[in-house]
């Protein structure tokens, strides 16, 4: 058997789909022919290389583009993708992340300041202990509330005092402005009666009812 005939059968021989008689003939030839034997070896390595040939993956954006161009319906997203899209990705925007961090920090600070301090151990937990703790907590909260109420009254009182002082000062300033300056009174016109002159007309300001 010559090389050209063996070459025609090499693929089938490699895939073991050649009839037994022909396969024996090819095998005998391969033993004696180095060229054909090397060729078969090279063909085997090519097929193996083809099987390991890397394949491209279709990215989600690519699939989305095709679906939008065909059915017009966007791609179905998995729960993980939805979670990432609606929760994780927005959280990763710098503005929201800073806002969320500051809000959390503020919340913890407020809780730390506002909540009554409770020292609880697991061994102290019992129905009576829990009631006692709750009672103490409630009292503490009530006490804090009363203190806050007193503080509010104190602030209100200070505010009223400040307001009255300011108003009195303003009133005295207005009265000073209302005093006529000597030498500037008109002599031709008769002086209007004192009772008819409206007070607000002189200053143009009206801060409180007469």
């Amino acid at each position: 058997m010559d090389c050209s005939k063996v070459e025609l059968w090499l693929s089938e021989y490699m895939e073991a789909s050649l009839p037994a008689e022909a396969a024996d003939a090819v095998a005998k030839h391969l033993v004696s022919c180095r060229n054909c034997s090397a060729l078969l070896q090279e063909m085997r390595s090519i097929v193996s290389l083809c099987h390991d040939y890397p394949s491209l993956e279709m990215g989600p954006e690519f699939v989305e583009r095709i679906l939008l161009r065909t059915s017009g319906r966007p791609r179905t997203r998995s729960f993980r993708e939805l979670l990432h899209q609606h929760i994780i990705r927005p959280l990763l925007t710098p503005r929201l992340a800073i806002g969320a961090t500051l809000a959390t920090l503020f919340l913890f600070l407020m809780l730390d300041l506002m909540l009554p301090r409770l020292s609880v151990t697991f061994s102290s937990i019992s129905p009576a202990g829990v009631v006692r703790l709750m009672d103490r907590g409630a009292r503490q909260l009530y006490g804090e509330g009363l203190r806050a109420y007193n503080k509010k009254n104190e602030w209100q009182e200070q505010y009223n005092r400040f307001k009255n002082n300011t108003l009195n000062n303003l009133r005295s300033i207005m009265e000073q402005i209302d005093v006529p300056v000597e030498g500037h009174q008109k002599t031709e016109e008769p002086e209007p009666p004192k009772d008819d002159a409206p007070k607000e007309k002189s200053s143009g300001l009206f801060l409180w009812p007469a």
Partner: protein, 192 residues
């Protein structure tokens, strides 16, 4: 009795978009890779895949159950468009060489080891260059059989040629490729 693919087509024809999404996910990757084997360029392969799937979507009604499997029908549509594209490109060739396979091999799950991935990429590039030197007929036979792993009978149906012709083309393709790569390897060895 309808098979899974045929039910899928029926659902697509009834306007079920989720069924079409399944079709795209099932066959898109194969079409994309097939396009890439022919074009050797990722962007061109993407455009081609998109055009093929648009054509498939528009012509779903023309698929006949007795005309063979749905996969073969899709591959036939793909092949026709790829050949059209090939003729167009041959008439108006684009400048620039082929894309590197390095980025591709990194994505390959079979080769997580970087050194192995680099060797794989080198071997694949060697093979790819060899494939480009084959005639379109032989190249097509090798791509369909050895890279895509399609059965002889399906290839015969796809190419509308007898199974014997397919076997003969694959054998000739392998032989030519083997001789070519042996020669190139010898040349590289001499240079080194």
């Amino acid at each position: 009795m309808l098979s899974g693919d045929q039910k899928l087509v029926e659902r697509c024809l009834q306007g079920d978009d989720s069924a079409w999404e399944i079709v795209v996910n099932l066959y898109g990757k194969r079409i994309y890779n097939l396009s890439y084997r022919y074009t050797n360029r990722r962007e061109e392969a993407e455009d081609l895949t998109q055009n093929i799937l648009i054509r498939v979507y528009q012509n779903l009604r023309s698929y006949r159950l007795d005309a063979g499997s749905f996969q073969n029908w899709i591959l036939r549509v793909a092949r026709n468009l790829i050949i059209d594209h090939y003729r167009q490109v041959r008439r108006f060739p684009k400048t620039g060489g082929s894309e590197e396979l390095e980025t591709m091999s990194i994505q390959d799950e079979k080769t997580p080891n970087p050194q192995r991935a680099a060797e794989q990429a080198e071997a694949s590039r060697f093979l790819q260059d060899g494939l480009q030197a084959l005639s379109p007929e032989l190249k097509e036979a090798i791509i369909l059989r050895d890279i895509e792993g399609i059965a002889y009978q399906d290839i015969a149906e796809l190419l509308s040629v007898p199974e014997g012709t397919v076997k003969s083309r694959i054998n000739r393709g392998r032989l030519e490729l083997a001789k070519l790569l042996t020669k190139r390897r010898a040349l590289l060895g001499m240079q080194m």
